[in-house]
């Protein structure tokens, strides 16, 4: 709850900051200006949870690839940028093994992630090929990682209509390049590689039989889920 209040405060602070920089935004320069970026994300995730021991090899953790999109809202000064970034990622999982009544029941599934990070970005003095500016950024991250089974598991009290969600906390660090251009209207391109570490603090079992009204069946504290997220992002500054 405290965390969420912090996010709210941050978003409201951003809004107030945005209101105060409106006059500056008329310049349409990349610096000393507000921006919204959007792009595509490709991810590789390594995670571990006792709820989903995954495959027959009984490896310590499982890995999965996925794809999604990223957006961010920020304000850039000369070398610094304060921003809120978000990723929405989707991926598939094969042979997820659940232990039900001492029996292993296997099914295929998929996951989705919503992650939100307030970030501080530093644009280094290094510019490659006179065009690409190296930057690094970091910040705390909150995420919701939801698992779904594609097929019903006979004999198990779990179906394709139910989901397991983990509310996670962690941190992110990213490094990448952004195109050096004089004006926002030229939509500078960026690409970056990011790493996030996430650990759950809450688990939810939800019933999505009625997609209009998802019901939370169970909610507990849990530190069971741990994940390493590697995300490649590329996109443009829209304005």
């Amino acid at each position: 709850m405290k965390t969420l209040k912090t996010i709210t405060s941050f978003l409201l602070t951003m809004l107030i900051a945005l209101s105060s920089v409106r006059a500056e935004s008329n310049k349409h320069s990349v610096e000393d200006n507000f921006n919204i970026k959007a792009g595509i994300s490709i991810n590789k995730i390594y995670f571990k949870t006792s709820f989903i021991p995954i495959n027959e090899k009984r490896e310590d953790q499982t890995e999965s690839s996925g794809i999604g999109f990223n957006t961010s809202v920020g304000y850039k000064w000369n070398n610094w940028e304060l921003m809120v970034g978000s990723d929405v990622l989707f991926g598939t999982l094969k042979d997820m093994t659940f232990e039900v009544n001492s029996n292993d029941i296997t099914g295929n599934g998929h996951y989705r992630i919503f992650a939100l990070s307030p970030l501080v970005r530093y644009y280094t003095p290094y510019i490659i090929y006179n065009r690409w500016n190296l930057f690094v950024d970091a910040g705390p991250t909150w995420s919701l990682h939801t698992f779904t089974l594609n097929n019903d598991l006979s004999g198990a009290n779990f179906s394709s209509k139910k989901r397991i969600s983990f509310e996670n906390r962690g941190g992110s660090i990213n490094i990448g390049f952004e195109e050096v251009v004089p004006f926002k209207e030229t939509h500078p391109t960026f690409f970056e590689i990011g790493y996030s570490y996430m650990r759950s603090h809450k688990i939810f079992i939800v019933d999505a039989s009625d997609f209009k009204d998802v019901i939370t069946l169970q909610k507990d504290n849990s530190t069971d889920f741990r994940g390493h997220y590697f995300i490649f992002r590329f996109g443009i500054t829209l304005f």
């Binding site: 209040k5 809004l15 935004s25 809202v73 939100l116 919701l144 939801t146 304005f239």
Partner: protein, 239 residues
């Protein structure tokens, strides 16, 4: 639905192949038709492409604080009016004043399906963004107004049925603005294509271009005669 799409596709193909004077230069139009088409169809003599009779676009202007507050108030009032209609449970059973008190000030990660978080909310946000753009706000101004409107709805209206959601608070204005920016460009291209179907689709994608606030192309004219009081809506279509 499939049949409808197929029929629409066939209609578009049909329109593409039927002979049209839009591709004729003024000199190529038959003499007996010249009078008919002289002030209705204009074509570029070099390319033979139809020239739009009306150039659609956005003219950004400054808004006073009072005007912005009034606009926020109107949109906020509309959410109070329409939300109980689309969510009847607000007044029946599940929702209600008890829920409102419990959810007020709460912010959580919602468990909603991607249909809502990644489609419906951004789509709503995009239409809000386009509404404010139609009223003359620049891109950043429209984003800010969308942020405020959606945050007010999220934190003070939707809590009749569920607590405020982190995903909605971020994605409605941000993804909505990204989507709205795309719709804005696509609709302006279609509206300025000079093609009738293009104009229809352009208005469907961006219905705010039909509102009186958009360049005054739609007028609501009051009728004050004793015998016939009322109002007349005049839409200025030029195909």
């Amino acid at each position: 639905m499939t049949k409808f799409v197929l029929i629409l596709f066939m209609f578009a193909v049909f329109l593409e192949f039927i002979p049209r004077y839009s591709y004729a230069t003024p000199a190529e139009i038959k003499d007996e038709l010249k009078e008919t088409f002289s002030d209705k169809v204009q074509a570029d003599p070099k390319t033979g492409k139809r020239l739009p009779l009306y150039q659609y676009g956005y003219q950004d202007r400054e808004h006073s604080l009072a005007e912005s507050a009034k606009n926020i108030g109107i949109v906020y009032g509309m959410t109070w009016f329409f939300y109980p209609i689309v969510q009847p449970k607000v007044f029946h059973g599940v929702g209600g004043v008890k829920n409102y008190g419990r959810n007020f000030g709460k912010l959580v990660f919602d468990q909603d399906e991607p249909f809502w978080n990644d489609f419906v909310h951004p789509l709503t946000g995009s239409q809000l963004y386009l509404l404010y753009r139609a009223d003359g706000y620049d891109i950043l101004g429209a984003f800010e107004m969308t942020f405020i409107s959606s945050a007010l709805f999220e934190m003070t209206v939707e809590i009749f049925t569920e607590p405020g959601s982190v995903q909605d608070l971020y994605q409605t204005p941000v993804l909505g603005t990204v989507l709205g920016f795309g719709i804005e460009n696509a609709s302006m291209y279609l509206l300025n294509s000079g093609n009738t179907l293009g104009k229809i689709v352009g208005h469907i994608l961006n219905p705010a271009t039909l509102l009186p606030i958009y360049e005054g192309r739609t007028l609501i004219i009051p009728k004050l005669e004793d015998a016939d009081k009322g109002a007349m809506i005049r839409w200025d279509f030029r195909f």
